[in-house]
């Protein structure tokens, strides 16, 4: 050994060294994650999902009202308030329910008391809410016959009155005014709002019972996400076990089990969910159970298909030859190998569970009041849609954003975890 001349050896250069170093081999999951990170829509989706989760979980900590707190004077307040300048620097807002508020700089609304002049003001509280023009006209004519100038409300502001004449709104169609109200204070009459300001007290406005919509949408997020997550879990447990057994056992067991799935799947699943919801007492648990108990059929089919191909592979044969029990083969060898498609299917399941839940709430089979999911909020907003559109926009927007986010994430996950399904 010692005869070898050391001079014959040359040091490798840094560059060559680098070349020789083995690159760390990527595992399936690392590779999938790398691919997921490269997909822009998927990252947007992920960001959206995280935002919605934070909104629902942490959001309610920052509001000082609960989803069920009602403030009677603050009914139907819009997120943006049109304010009238009745005096230099003094602004008032008139709500859709004809409540008048002083709007100070800091945004704290201060309701003004209505000055009651015996019976004269009776029956005015609900005018202009949900009446058709013809009904409105009729009501107005009846009132006009009774007392002249009944379309007048007096509010007390300090020692003075603010007078509101809303007859212009009622006659708008015929007379062609371009303003709705005349607000008179100390002899000055204002017809047009000076500007619109953000509602600092209720950023999303309030509903018809004076509940803070922001808080309600946040709690709605909690309910929708909880239902989606729990239903997906139920669906996962039943579907994976069922599909794995059917696929692994094969033969007659498989045949019978899959025929049952076929029967369930031969009617629209929503129909079965509705029946289950009618059968049990409506509530949060029922929705989770109903959705989970029905949607598993798709998961079972998917897992069964995976099992059929996986069980033919050598590692299963090896495990069997070593005497591993069926149960252990399924849980330790087969299911982990089918995890990719299962996760994709679960991500896709979440938006459809959110959709189903809001659909059920919308048709009146949802969580019980005063709890409210996004579907309930949308349903409640329906009756006053034309007057208070914001009450619909926020829950509807929340549903749409969440569905979009989960769909994008699911698409990205599918491409990342299951390259065979990738489409051009």
């Amino acid at each position: 050994m010692s005869d070898i001349n050391k001079n014959k050896f040359v040091f490798v250069s840094d560059r060559e060294k680098e070349h020789d170093e083995a690159r760390k081999s990527l595992t399936y999951w690392a590779d999938a994650f790398r691919r997921l990170r490269k997909s822009k829509p998927a990252m947007f989706g992920l960001a959206g999902v995280i935002l919605v989760v934070l909104f629902g979980l942490i959001g309610p900590l920052f509001t000082n009202v609960s989803y069920s707190d009602q403030e009677n004077d603050h009914r139907n307040l819009a997120p943006r308030l049109a304010i009238y300048e009745i005096e230099e620097g003094v602004f008032v807002h008139l709500s859709g329910d004809y409540n008048m508020f002083i709007v100070p700089e800091d945004g704290n609304l201060q309701v003004l008391e209505v000055y009651e002049e015996e019976e004269e003001l009776e029956g005015r509280s609900d005018v202009g809410e949900m009446l058709s023009p013809s009904e409105m006209r009729k009501q107005r004519e009846e009132e006009a016959a009774k007392v002249e100038n009944v379309n007048l409300i007096k509010y007390m502001y300090g020692e003075e009155f603010i007078e509101l004449d809303y007859s212009f709104k009622l006659e708008r169609d015929e007379k062609g005014h371009d303003f709705d109200f005349a607000i008179t204070y100390k002899g000055n009459t204002v017809n047009y709002p000076a500007k619109t300001v953000a509602n600092k007290l209720y950023p999303f406005g309030t509903d018809s019972l004076g509940r803070d919509l922001l808080t309600r949408v946040m709690f709605g997020a909690r309910i929708s996400l909880l239902v989606a997550a729990a239903a997906t879990l139920v669906n996962f447990l039943i579907g994976v076990v069922y599909g794995a057994i059917a696929g692994y056992k094969g033969g007659r067991t498989d045949n019978i089990m899959m025929r049952i799935v076929d029967v369930i799947n031969s009617v629209p699943l929503v129909l079965i969910i509705i029946l289950l919801m009618v059968m049990f007492e409506a509530g949060l648990g029922t929705i989770i159970l109903a959705i989970g108990l029905v949607y598993w059929v798709n998961m079972a089919r998917l897992v069964r298909g995976q099992m059929l191909s996986l069980k033919e592979q050598e590692f299963v044969l090896a495990a069997r030859a070593l005497g591993v029990r069926s149960r252990k083969i399924i849980t330790r060898h087969l299911i982990p190998n089918a995890m990719g498609p299962i996760i994709v299917s679960m991500t896709m399941m979440i938006p459809s569970a959110i959709f189903t839940e809001s659909f059920l709430s919308f048709i009146g089979l949802g969580v019980s009041a005063p709890m409210a999911s996004w579907g309930t909020l949308a349903n409640n907003a329906l009756s006053g849609l034309l007057t208070y559109p914001y009450q619909l926009m926020f829950p509807a927007g929340a549903i749409a954003i969440t569905m979009l986010a989960f769909n994008f994430l699911g698409d990205g996950l599918r491409d990342a975890l299951d390259p065979r399904l990738r489409k051009g």
């Binding site: 076929d262 031969s266 629209p268 809001s358 048709i363 329906l382 034309l386 569905m403 489409k423 051009g424």
Partner: protein
């Protein structure tokens, strides 16, 4: 081939019977009878009512009567709407529901497929992005949100765009809102499906061969590409019927259309069990028969379908 059809038909009948049995069991396992109200009725009155509707019979006889009625296509009386048969409700509800459903179907076919094809042919061009953006919105936004948005924008919320009536089908314009909202999801889905299947087909060798043979481009498209691209779209017909059916529940509620979906929702709110049962069975039977017809038509049209499907 005949054997396949007969087998499918028998399976369909059995499935309908199973569904009918399941709904019967579910509706009869609800705690409290159909006459349990917030204001309790006197005991004697409940007895008279139960006798009238044969609810005092043993359960097995009730089941027999119900199934016998089903074979005569008689779904029994409503418990809440006195003197109204479930059959009458369904007969009343079919025309409006069928009309908006049919229009939605036509809209899906005449818009969804062309949009998908155009999008595929102009892949990664602005028009593709626009179509795909709309289609993605369409599959993610629930139909009741779309419906309420349509009402808000085109029926009063925006004064300049006040073109449509808020509810009802009395004028032809009244159809626009419900049909659009009902079609929205499936329209978007068909567009996406057509696009991806078209892209797949365009990559096939036979398209290249056809082009290499000097066949004109429009002929390559019409004769070879589009025909083959539409096969996966046909398989979506079943789920599409389901989507339109369940979509009609909320659409009819929002637009106040007196269709079956509306009656169904109403019966759910009223806990009118016979109506819930009857309409469920009707929906299930309708759906199963439609899927059966589609499958049969599919098998007749596409010679590649094998009739040993049951074994796989």
């Amino acid at each position: 081939m005949a054997k396949y059809f007969i087998k499918r038909f028998v399976v369909a009948i059995i499935t309908i019977l199973i569904i009918a049995t399941l709904t019967f069991v579910m509706m009869h396992s609800i705690p409290g009878g159909p006459f349990t109200r917030e204001k309790a009725l006197p005991e004697a009155q409940i007895q008279i009512l139960e006798e009238k509707y044969h609810l005092d019979d043993p359960l097995i006889k009730q089941y027999g009567d119900y199934m016998a009625g089903l074979f005569r296509l008689d779904l029994g009386p409503s418990f809440v709407k006195i003197g109204v048969e479930v059959n009458e409700l369904i007969a009343l509800g079919i025309p409006p529901t069928a009309k908006i459903g049919l229009f939605a179907l036509i809209l899906i076919v005449i818009l969804g497929i062309p949009f998908g094809i155009i999008s595929a042919l102009k892949q990664n061009k602005p028009i593709d992005y626009i179509v795909m953006f709309m289609a993605t919105l369409g599959v993610t936004i629930p139909s009741f949100v779309v419906a309420t948005l349509i009402i808000f924008v085109f029926a009063g919320g925006v004064p300049a765009l006040n073109w449509l009536p808020t509810f009802g089908l009395t004028s032809p314009l009244g159809y626009i809102g419900p049909v659009l909202a009902l079609a929205g999801y499936s329209l978007s889905f068909v567009t996406r499906l057509t696009r991806s299947s078209m892209l797949e087909v365009l990559r096939q060798d036979y398209i290249r061969t056809a082009r290499a043979n000097g066949i004109r481009e429009y002929k390559v498209m019409a004769k070879h590409a589009i025909k083959n691209a539409l096969i996966p779209v046909i398989t979506y017909i079943g789920p599409m019927i389901a989507a339109i059916m369940t979509g009609s529940f909320v659409i009819e509620k929002i637009f106040h259309i007196p269709g079956i979906g509306g009656y169904f929702i109403e019966s759910i709110t009223n806990r009118d069990y016979t109506v819930i049962m009857g309409i469920t069975v009707f929906y299930a039977a309708f759906y199963i028969i439609m899927v059966l017809l589609v499958d049969v038509a599919y098998a007749l049209v596409d010679p590649r379908i094998k009739f040993t499907k049951g074994k796989s």
